[in-house]
Amino acid sequence: MSSPHLKTNRPTEPTEASPMPATVTEPETRAPDRMSMHRSRLPHWAPWLVAVVAAALSALLSLTLGWSVAGWAVLAVVVYAVALPGWSRVVENSRTALDRLVTTLVWSAFAVALVPLVSLVTKVLVEGAPALSAEFLTFSMRNVVGEGGGIYHAIIGTLLITLAATLISVPVGLMSAIYLTEYGNNGRTARTITFLVDVMTGIPSIVAGLFAYALFVLFFGEGVRLGFGGAVALSLLMMPIVVRSCEEMLKLVPADLREASYALGVPKWRTITKVVLPTSLAGIITGVTLAVARVIGETAPLLIIAGSTDSVNMNLFAERMMTLPVFIYYSYTQPGVPAEFGQERAWGAALVLIVIVMALNLLARAVGHYFAPKSGH
């Protein structure tokens, strides 16, 4: 155990000999303490006041200068980040001022991180919603030039390839997780597998696609494109995620349950299949669903090995197969003439893909929430 030694990390301003320890746990929410021994503090509504003033001031300025909303927001945050610590420095002390500055910066970092999410989702909704129709979801692009057509072939391809990838990676991933938790004994093999699984989560998706191509070229020859290759590539990306989540879930099963089962004379493999797995089933389903959500949007490997086509292809083992991500890519970058129909279809497909991914995420959370075993302790 190496706990950090606090005294070696002294604050940079140790010379500030404060006669009284300031109560500084939650400066914003506490009402000011009126005991005379305490230092003067900003009132608890000070941040709100400064925020309103900063927003109003920068609104005035950006209206006169004709700036955009983004310019206004940036200016408001800058004014706030200068004004509040400045005020605090005058009334309180420099340490509290720094603390307030950091609080501002941390929250603005969080806000900045959310801007793209909001912007992206609105953009996709606005552009994609007009494209959606019954025809869009039930027609393929076969013999369609210009307006019309749909993404039926891409939806079919995505579903088939993802299903095949799940069928490959879930048994392998789940069994490996069982090996790691139940049989591995934390020995050398188990530790190696764990470590390499972790490293594998970082394999670039395009490399997985190249691997699938290099593999299937041996059987089918130069220029091979088939849906099953996409499934192999996706399962390479999916396996480590499945192993990690299943492993975590199996570890959560209390040892008491296993011991009780052994005490009744149940063999180990029956214990695993009848006691351990059912107990952790909800968590495993959550993990697998999240893994599916992760790979269903993968584009690069499918671009390489599954290719692109305008027709419905139900056969994983022959010919090119369209998928939603690849459809989005090609419809936007090579929309044909006139361009607007292809681009509209790309946005529509993007919306459908996001809806599928979000639905999978929500489903996973719901399963994890409602079916999780209640912890006994």
Binding site: P11, T103, F110, L117, L174, A214, I354
Partner: protein, 313 residues
């Protein structure tokens, strides 16, 4: 390791049943399948990439040899990934701190989900958004940078009117790796011993001083490895770069002009569908280079985090 992990793996002197043996062997085989798959990636890419050593100028887009072909791509890959890390790390640390320390407890979990949603959006949609929305909106900023900060080599300009520059690509990459870094660092921040934090506060530290004294020292290795995992992801990210970047294969530090270095992954994605013959092998060889680079970045990151605790996602 918690107490629940202490599984009795070897009940003393149990009778070995055939079912047990078969099941144990199956699980072990599944574990080996994963190792074989990883080895297979290396072997197949090497086998298909080696012929590229004999490629001539026709297959190498005019480069003299494979190294000369790969170098600009590797440069672009590293440049985009490093820029992305520079942008993403402060934001991710801020977001992680909000979730672990700043937000009210009831808000923290939903906020964590919201950040996780960023990770759920497919990369091709990020590419679409970066190409159609972000790039054009960044042009005024780039124009301003070129006019006012043009003396810095990074902003020499002239600004690309479409905004499809390496800086735009790096911003999109930063958004994509942000949730990974946030998820890992917030986990680490949340693991800081409560007593350390309360001790710091009791000694009169402000919240920021508490973070600096108790939380950051405890999570330093975790932060480093989270950033490296983000770097690994940024190096290998394909579609966003392929769609956003208008690449011309130059080696240039000019971040906002219309001639940009390409990245390995984007170059493969853009070139593979039309590639035939030895050109395919060349692209696979560049993929091998990418695989090796990301493998070592991830290897190092996992080794750092593994020394501490391996509970990270």
């Amino acid at each position: 390791m918690t107490a629940t992990t202490a599984v009795p793996n070897n009940p003393p002197r149990v009778k070995q049943r055939p079912g047990d043996r078969v099941f144990a062997a199956t699980t072990r085989a599944a574990g080996y399948v994963i190792l074989i798959a990883l080895a297979g990636v290396a072997i197949f890419l090497t086998a298909k990439g080696l012929p590229a050593l004999g490629a001539d100028r026709n297959d190498l887009a005019g480069a003299a040899n494979l190294a000369a072909y790969v170098w600009p791509l590797l440069f672009g890959t590293l440049l985009a990934a490093l820029l992305a890390i520079l942008i993403a790390t402060p934001l991710a640390l801020g977001a992680a701190l909000v979730i672990s320390h700043y937000a009210p407890r009831r808000l923290a979990t939903p906020l964590g989900y919201v950040v996780d949603l960023l990770a759920a959006i497919p990369s091709v949609v990020y590419g679409l958004w970066g190409l159609a929305f972000l790039g054009p909106r960044l042009f005024p900023v780039y124009d301003w940078l070129a006019d006012n900060l043009g003396f810095i080599p990074f902003f020499r300009g002239p600004a690309s009117a479409s905004g499809r520059t390496i800086l735009t690509a790096a911003i999109v990459l930063a958004i994509m790796i942000l949730p990974i870094i946030t998820a890992i660092t917030r986990e680490i921040f949340a693991q800081t011993p409560r007593l350390h934090q309360e001790a710091a506060l009791a000694l009169g530290a402000t919240r920021w001083e508490m973070l600096r004294l108790a939380v950051f020292p405890y999570g330093r290795s975790g932060i480093v490895s989270a950033v490296m995992l983000g770097l690994g992801r940024a190096l290998g990210e394909t579609m966003a770069v392929a769609m956003v970047l208008s690449a011309s294969g130059v080696v240039s530090l000019n971040l906002i002009s219309s001639s940009n270095p390409s990245t390995i992954a984007a170059n493969i994605a853009l070139g593979f569908s039309e590639a035939t013959g030895l050109r395919v092998n060349v692209l696979i060889a560049t993929g091998l280079v990418l695989f090796v680079v990301t493998f070592f970045v991830n290897f190092a990151a996992r080794a750092i985090v593994g020394r501490r605790d391996r509970r990270m996602a």
